[in-house]
Symmetry: C2
Subunit: 355 residues, 2 copies
Amino acid sequence: MKIAILPGDGIGTEIVAEAVKVLKALDLQFESEQALVGGAAYEAHGHPLPESTLNLAKAADAVLFGAVGDWKYDKLERALRPEQAILGLRKHLGLFANFRPAICYEQLTHASSLKPELVAGLDILIIRELTGDIYFGQPRGRRVAVDGHFPGAEEAFDTMRYSKPEIERIAHIAFQAARKRGKKVTSVDKANVLETFQFWKDVVTEVHAQYSDVELEHMYVDNAAMQLVKAPKKFDVVVTGNMFGDILSDEAAMLTGSIGMLPSASLDRNNKGLYEPSHGSAPDIAGKGIANPLATILSAAMMLRFSLDQAEAADRIESAVRSVLSAGLRTADIWSEGTQKVSTRDMGDAVVAAV
Amino acid sequence: MKIAILPGDGIGTEIVAEAVKVLKALDLQFESEQALVGGAAYEAHGHPLPESTLNLAKAADAVLFGAVGDWKYDKLERALRPEQAILGLRKHLGLFANFRPAICYEQLTHASSLKPELVAGLDILIIRELTGDIYFGQPRGRRVAVDGHFPGAEEAFDTMRYSKPEIERIAHIAFQAARKRGKKVTSVDKANVLETFQFWKDVVTEVHAQYSDVELEHMYVDNAAMQLVKAPKKFDVVVTGNMFGDILSDEAAMLTGSIGMLPSASLDRNNKGLYEPSHGSAPDIAGKGIANPLATILSAAMMLRFSLDQAEAADRIESAVRSVLSAGLRTADIWSEGTQKVSTRDMGDAVVAAV
Ligand SMILES: CC(C)[C@H](C(=O)O)[C@@H](O)C(=O)O
Ligand SMILES: CC(C)[C@H](C(=O)O)[C@@H](O)C(=O)O
């Protein structure tokens, strides 16, 4: 087993170091190799996703990713900005299935913006298609408008698109995931406006015929954004496209109040995957040793389960995390009166001690 | 002054009737004419937006709209479904500027999913561009994919686009609105992924040069979906495109906990407008006389202020609504222990008595 370790920018290096420490403590057989990505790679090699980093990721069985981005790169041309590394990895590795759990940990219920009764026990799985949609659709660019409201004016445009097999494969993944959970899938679309999402809805409905044990519900994206606020626990598995998934998975993560706890997995069709925390690179707190490493540590657990066939080791990490929370350890982002504030490193050490 | 009254489907007829009652009680000089729209128009004329209805709307100085839609039309081909009436009215009347306030009424703070301290006093104005973006962009449709992940497969596609003047005019509206409020505009984009929204960001920044007294902040749409949950009161005016605005305005409305209270206005470049509640047609409670008419009554107030130059009459309606709330009257959707549950009609009568 070979793991590519891509810490990235900001707090990325600090939190990935803790996850690696936890992985090493498990006494598994794995090789690992580290590489630069994002702004750090741009500084060193002039590109956020250098060939060497991409090749390492391609050769590995799994990628453990920290976070990328910093305001100081805002003025770079788009192709060189740190986030392009993520888009490039998704595309070149074919990571079409993004798993974003939104879980509200019992010990952290109070941290949510929502009233405790609305989020206590929350456990949603958002499955976002990650290599299609308007993220990668061609053509895109700038041009002179030939029609529309202002023919002759400068305009910019993008193409949203989904092909049938792309929708089918993510729908299968959602139904299969639901089978192991609450047996309900909410497919989010905007079929009342978009051709792409009328097609999405049709194809998901077709695939559903093979999963009669799973309930399928269709919901418009605007309504989904509302229902997540109103009654998040009514959701089990949510499946949607790349753009809507970007928005809804972040909304759902924030509902839990502890985005610093939420891992994510992005898988290809062979269950090779890239694993990263749901939060960003937080340049404002980078280098201070106060970032929460738990989302990254839990991402490593997902990596063991999904890509490296080590479910037992994954379980050990996940129960270790629960036990450090129960012991009252908290990084600053999840700290509250009566609990013990610890550093990034202390939190990693505590998980190591508990596994 | 001529007002076109389009009650539509579901609770639309009930709530519009109350708003009309309130308008009549104000002793203003106006003519009004009613027409069918949505499912009701489809039943009678075979189309959700018949020529006669569109012509009435075109000829009027303002349109008071209820709501459209019912599950029973789900199987109709898209062009005949009730929602197409809204899209058609926006397009044919050139209603490019959608104002969606998200206000948390003091008396209803507890109704929010969010903790009271996060929403008490909330007053956001979301300004959504309403005639551009992927809603109306051409080409769109189904075809055989020539590239992408599955060349040769069936695919569906849509076109996102914005021209410079479209972005400029909505940006001006947002900065001007902010001048009369908290002097801050948050422009929501996805410039890190979409050409259209990199352009959006560039043009909004350019327009901002004329409004140095207003603060401009740029935010990615995924982050905006999070910040609305985390700290909604940090927003003042939010300006964004049609698609993102659809999602974020509904999310923000739901945060207040009382979407039954929220009006909206959709204006053309001469301040002619269509006014409608932010909520939908609620077919499940239609005909029961329990729907909340206040969002529609407040939409009528917006109509008086924006399109009919009757700010004083608008003020009278708005204070009447505050006073019925203070008196403890509540329709079922906003009812809580210790307040008096009233019907749609009783609520309308109470507002009439209070103006
Ligand atoms: C950084 C950005 C390109 C990315 C996305 O939009 O997919 C991020 O928001 C995410 O969700 O991983
Ligand atoms: C009904 C639908 C077409 C419409 C939209 O998406 O604009 C609605 O959601 C709205 O926000 O008014």
